[in-house]
C-alpha cells in the first residue's frame, strides 16, 4: 500500500494526459517516456559487460 501510494504520487494519473507537439508530430508524454526508456535500455545492454562465471572460456 505504501509503495503503491509513493509510486502513484510520482505521476498524477487522474488528470488529462500531457501531449507534446513538434509540427505535425504529436506524442503523449507517457509514450515518449517509454520510447526514451527503450533507447536507454538498448544502449545499456550494448555497453554494460555481461557477468562471467569462473571457468568460462572466451
Amino acid at each position: 500500500m505504501v509503495l503503491g501510494a509513493l509510486l502513484a504520487a510520482l505521476v498524477n494519473l487522474g488528470g488529462t494526459g500531457k501531449y507534446f507537439h513538434w509540427g505535425f508530430i504529436q506524442i503523449s508524454a507517457a509514450n515518449l517516456v517509454v520510447i526514451i526508456l527503450m533507447v536507454v535500455v538498448f544502449v545499456l545492454a550494448i555497453l554494460l559487460p555481461f557477468p562471467k562465471r569462473k571457468g568460462d572460456r572466451q
Binding site: M38, F42, L44, A45, I46, L48, F50
Partner: protein
C-alpha cells in the same frame, strides 16, 4: 497405419528399433526422421552457447518469450473469471493489471530485441525465415494488443473502438473486421490472434534453434589491413 505386409509380423517392443522399407515410407516415419534430423535433442535444448552470446543484448529474446507466457497465463485467468470479476474485485484488478503490464513488457522487450537483431543484420547466414517470422509475429501481436484494448468492456474501450473504426473502414477492412462488434473483437483477441502469435513465435524459436544465434560481423578487409599495419606494443602473455 501399417500395410498388409506387417500382418502377422512380430510386435515391436523387445527387439529394439526395427526399420523396414515399408515403414520408412509412412508419413509418420518420414516426419519423425525429418524432425530428428532438423532438431537433434542437444540442438533443441542446448546447454552451451557461443562465447559471443555473452552480452545483455542477447537477453531480450527470452525476456519477450517470458512476457508472452505471462500474457497467456493471466489472459487465461481473466477468461475463466470474466469481466465482472476483473472490473469489481481487487484480485481481479490485480490480475487485469498483470495482464496489461506483461503486454507492456512484451512489447518493450520485443522492440529492443528487434533493434538489436536489425543492427546485427540477423537475417545473415540463411536466417531469412527466422527474421521474417519475427516480423510477422510482431505485426500479429500489434493486432492482438489492439483487440485487447477494445475488449476491456469499459469507457476506454468504447473510445478506442469508435476512434479506430474510421481508420479501419478507410482501408476497406471494416467490411469484415468491425471494431464496433465487441463479440467479434473478443473472439479475435482470445482465440485467433493468440493462436497466431503462439504458433509464429514458436516457429521463430524453433528456427533460432535450427540455425543458431547469428554471429557478430567479421572484420572487413579495411579493418583487417589497419589492424595488420598497427605496430603491436607488447605481446600478450601466452
Amino acid at each position: 497405419m501399417s500395410t498388409d505386409t506387417n500382418i502377422g509380423a512380430e510386435p515391436r517392443g523387445g527387439g529394439g528399433p526395427a526399420h523396414s522399407s515399408s515403414e520408412s515410407r509412412q508419413w509418420t516415419a518420414r516426419m519423425r526422421h525429418a524432425a530428428e534430423s532438423a532438431f537433434p535433442p542437444d540442438q533443441l535444448l542446448p546447454d552451451r552457447q557461443p562465447a559471443y552470446m555473452a552480452s545483455w543484448i542477447y537477453v531480450f529474446g527470452v525476456l519477450t518469450v517470458v512476457s508472452l507466457a505471462w500474457v497467456i497465463i493471466t489472459g487465461c485467468v481473466l477468461a475463466i473469471m470474466g469481466p465482472t470479476w476483473w472490473h469489481v474485485s481487487s484480485t481481479g484488478h490485480f490480475v487485469n493489471s498483470l495482464h496489461l503490464w506483461s503486454v507492456e513488457c512484451f512489447f518493450f522487450f520485443m522492440v529492443i530485441h528487434l533493434w538489436g537483431k536489425f543492427f546485427m543484420a540477423a537475417w545473415r547466414g540463411n536466417r531469412r525465415l527466422t527474421w521474417a517470422t519475427g516480423v510477422i509475429s510482431f505485426l500479429v501481436s500489434v493486432a492482438a494488443a489492439f483487440t485487447g484494448y477494445v475488449s476491456q468492456t469499459n469507457f476506454d474501450s468504447q473510445w478506442i473502438s469508435t476512434q479506430a473504426k474510421d481508420g479501419i473502414n478507410s482501408t476497406g477492412a471494416g467490411a469484415l473486421w468491425n471494431v464496433l462488434n465487441f463479440g467479434q473483437m473478443l473472439m479475435w483477441h482470445i482465440v485467433l490472434l493468440p493462436i497466431g502469435v503462439a504458433l509464429i513465435a514458436g516457429l521463430h524459436v524453433l528456427l533460432v534453434r535450427r540455425h543458431g544465434i547469428v554471429p557478430p560481423f567479421e572484420l572487413g578487409d579495411h579493418h583487417a589491413e589497419s589492424a595488420a599495419a598497427t605496430p603491436v606494443a607488447a605481446e600478450e602473455p601466452a
